[in-house]
Symmetry: D2
Subunit: 317 residues, 4 copies
Amino acid sequence: MRSFEVKHRTTVDDIRALRLITAIKTPYLPDGRFDLEAYDRLMHMQIAGGAEGVIVGGTTGEGHLMSWDEHIMLIGHTVNCFGSKIKVIGNTGSNSTGEAVHATEQGFAVGMHAALHINPYYGKTSIQGLIAHFDAVMLMGPTVVYNVPSRTGQDIPPPVINALAINPNLAGVKECMGNERIKGYTDKGVVTWSGNDDECHDARWMYGATGVISVTSNLIPGLMHSLMFEGENAVLRDKVMPLMKWLFVEPNPIGLNTALAQLGVIRPVFRLPYYPLPHEMRIEFVRIVKELGRENFVGQREVEVLNDDDFIIVGRY
Amino acid sequence: MRSFEVKHRTTVDDIRALRLITAIKTPYLPDGRFDLEAYDRLMHMQIAGGAEGVIVGGTTGEGHLMSWDEHIMLIGHTVNCFGSKIKVIGNTGSNSTGEAVHATEQGFAVGMHAALHINPYYGKTSIQGLIAHFDAVMLMGPTVVYNVPSRTGQDIPPPVINALAINPNLAGVKECMGNERIKGYTDKGVVTWSGNDDECHDARWMYGATGVISVTSNLIPGLMHSLMFEGENAVLRDKVMPLMKWLFVEPNPIGLNTALAQLGVIRPVFRLPYYPLPHEMRIEFVRIVKELGRENFVGQREVEVLNDDDFIIVGRY
Amino acid sequence: MRSFEVKHRTTVDDIRALRLITAIKTPYLPDGRFDLEAYDRLMHMQIAGGAEGVIVGGTTGEGHLMSWDEHIMLIGHTVNCFGSKIKVIGNTGSNSTGEAVHATEQGFAVGMHAALHINPYYGKTSIQGLIAHFDAVMLMGPTVVYNVPSRTGQDIPPPVINALAINPNLAGVKECMGNERIKGYTDKGVVTWSGNDDECHDARWMYGATGVISVTSNLIPGLMHSLMFEGENAVLRDKVMPLMKWLFVEPNPIGLNTALAQLGVIRPVFRLPYYPLPHEMRIEFVRIVKELGRENFVGQREVEVLNDDDFIIVGRY
Amino acid sequence: MRSFEVKHRTTVDDIRALRLITAIKTPYLPDGRFDLEAYDRLMHMQIAGGAEGVIVGGTTGEGHLMSWDEHIMLIGHTVNCFGSKIKVIGNTGSNSTGEAVHATEQGFAVGMHAALHINPYYGKTSIQGLIAHFDAVMLMGPTVVYNVPSRTGQDIPPPVINALAINPNLAGVKECMGNERIKGYTDKGVVTWSGNDDECHDARWMYGATGVISVTSNLIPGLMHSLMFEGENAVLRDKVMPLMKWLFVEPNPIGLNTALAQLGVIRPVFRLPYYPLPHEMRIEFVRIVKELGRENFVGQREVEVLNDDDFIIVGRY
């Protein structure tokens, strides 16, 4: 099931050229459904801030908390509204090959420009299984392979990436295993994005990375754009480091969700199992914003410290 | 859950102005999945033939044989590829209000220009229930209400339509109860499309109908365009009548599916419970095509009589 | 996908012997989810009242307002809790052959004793399509075919039933087209249940019907049992007729839902598009209960007239 | 949504008493659907071999490759057919709290005796999030919490288990973090099952574990029963060790699937991303079977070395 008609069809090389890709947050209404108006505002902020691509329904966007119909709808929505201005990379990966194949077909059918594919987390598999899984999903269009062993429980080792690199649909790798690993790929001409915000400056300027797939850029797209486009800048890198450390004190997107709510750009609604950062961390965030400068962050409202009972925690969604 | 960002956002008046809307066929691959390449070709033929809108996943498009994720995907796909050239009306109706609400939200989120809504077929309900059902689904955007008692088992009587006409989202009515019923609505200013191809010429030129939502236009879009745009023309009306009679000798889309397969524009694949017309009717179709002129039909291949074993009948899909 | 292990496996002849089958109501919690505690109570009332079988998720049970996972879960639940005391007939029919095949496999896998299958309503099909549809779903176990043209828009004519009667899985027919039609089948040895409560006494005693698949027995199982088991009884028939007329003044299960709520055995929660009967009809119900005798109805609470704002109408479920 | 009617309702103490629980394999037909006949045979072998409980749709049973309707159906099926002879523990856990809540409600509704719950793998969360997740799913009945950081990417640390131990629904913990961790729990009275077959003998007899939730018992239920019931037996432990090492040379259930196919008790069908062990490992398995004694393994056919093209690998399921 494929189509050659989709708008803004994107070549693998177009994807390879992207330097700043944001793993966009999915905001919610108080009953746990998507808040598309807030989502659209976040998308505008990313475009204004210089992001060239978004990951829709990544781990940051809580794709693992979506039904597939929600997920494909959100990809289709993003393409429809913003696809002429920014590249839309749908996270249609899954630890079920069957689901990944189906979702990837659907995602390309609604116009996504590329797919993000994870190795089978939790279930895991053998090297042969890994390759068979990626072969099954990479048929359909430009693909970014995502390696994050701290989540998946299983590293995608370099020989697997090297085997996949023969496939013309491989746009590149989102790599979280550090800059030495990245260098190994970029030395061989495999396009690589850092998946660790705190390492991305060095990855870009010292280890050959093309850019970053970023969480932090949800908050400070302009500064992340500077980091990726304006040359080596250790001062800026060090300046944003406290924010990055804060963001990842608990598993992502807990910090991000808390931050965006305090910046007033999303409603303070969490789908479980995510839970807001504690009060002292929320105070700390306001301090960090003031230090970095409110104007560098998305949104116009004054940053505020939310109270425990400002948050809505949704268990049935 | 709504968005104000969708491309080619369409006003209710834009929908009201459409004269030729095709209830587009959904073609299948041999394993029963959608054949998007064939679908895209059918869409191009409609645009070339002058159709101004399509119903995606209507009864003709076999929406009732789709899972909702397939259905919303197909709407999103159509918007993405053809939404700047033709209006996309998604059939997000259901006899379950819950499903209709959910699907309509999703359909508008992926950019459909209007929704088609049926009354609750099979389950049926009271007049109060009918109005509550339509009220629940008409909140979200321009809406065409569809009345076809021969399928639903329940007429939507004029008082219900009159009650719904207060809602600014009511674009109009697709009416299959005949031209007197249509006249009753058009006299009051309610936009109405004929849902019966064999009555649509008269509906348009003698009873005030705005146009037609057509099955036949899948086959002869140009002639249907003439019927709707070029003034009263009893000669043309009578000339296409044998084709229309042939098309509806069995419940739609049985005739249409058979015809498109014989014209070589789709694969001869049926999802059950649909089943090809018998051989003598297939011979008759070729005769009708020759009489009306092959050049008036979609596709370029020679029309042929398919054999029983040319057809693939799929029960698990 | 089949199993020979299921408990209380039931032969086609066991199904053919049932005289009183209740199309059981599905009750809801205020948020629209199933109220299983109330459901279990209703099931106990049916068993105590003499019902020998239940249809789970029929039109009365609002199967068309369920997701398939809810529907199969409810069948599995009923089998688990009550399958040793009453026959569980799952309505795994659909106008989509694909969905009907999948649901029927699942229903038998969780232990249902027989399947109820409707012809493809709304979509409709040809005679060949009808037979192909039923052939696809009747492979899996004992099957009751259901004919109700006032809902489906298409009669299943006697030649189709006669063709299906060759299939050893055909347990019989639930027929709503009247007692002459029933007689035609029973004369030929096809087991038939009346699908019209008001005609079932005559069907049973004068036209050869085996029994009834009843809505009214949700309310007065004992009296319906008498009607089906204790010989011709025109007095009793006429005595319950006003209740039956009342129940069907609007499309079923609107009357039934209203009645059970007023009897205090379910919460007054409606899934749209169903809507409570108006106040004057609710008063009328109390009068009917008093005339027939509260003790003949399910539940122990005093029957009451509910107010408009006692009812909860759920649109998203 | 709950019911007090389910058959063979099981107390938390009944679950706590189980010593040998098998994480049962799900076998497939060549098109990737479930092979229920083979499944039923496997279940009989487990009952005959002395297993007291099964995990349905665990990681071994490839629950992560099932749609939820398949998963709940399989739980309902197992309860219906075998629930009077063996305890049925449904793996209704998920990294989505919403899905876990829904599935757990449904699993208990169809009669499962207990739920297995994993912490949110891949997505991960904070300690507060972990506790909120477990609180949301443990309301509904007896619960086994499963800790396997090598799959989930996140350890459930002892303070979380200690917090959950207050909940009367906590039956116990399936722990893969080793026998010292197990001892810490059992010293405090928290029932614990070893999740590592190679450590389970020592866990049971030296560290206080109640028993094992086993993969190996799919193959040699009788020997695993001896290990758990017949006292310390280092000889037997060491004798089965080579089989256990072989089984886990690649991520489970790759070895198990290969083994069961070679024993002739399931068809050699794999759902991707699982892929058969290579030929030399398949030869090695036959050697191990002969050494341990064919009679100790499930099935009666001679064990054979399958060839590469004997296996069917299914990507769309």
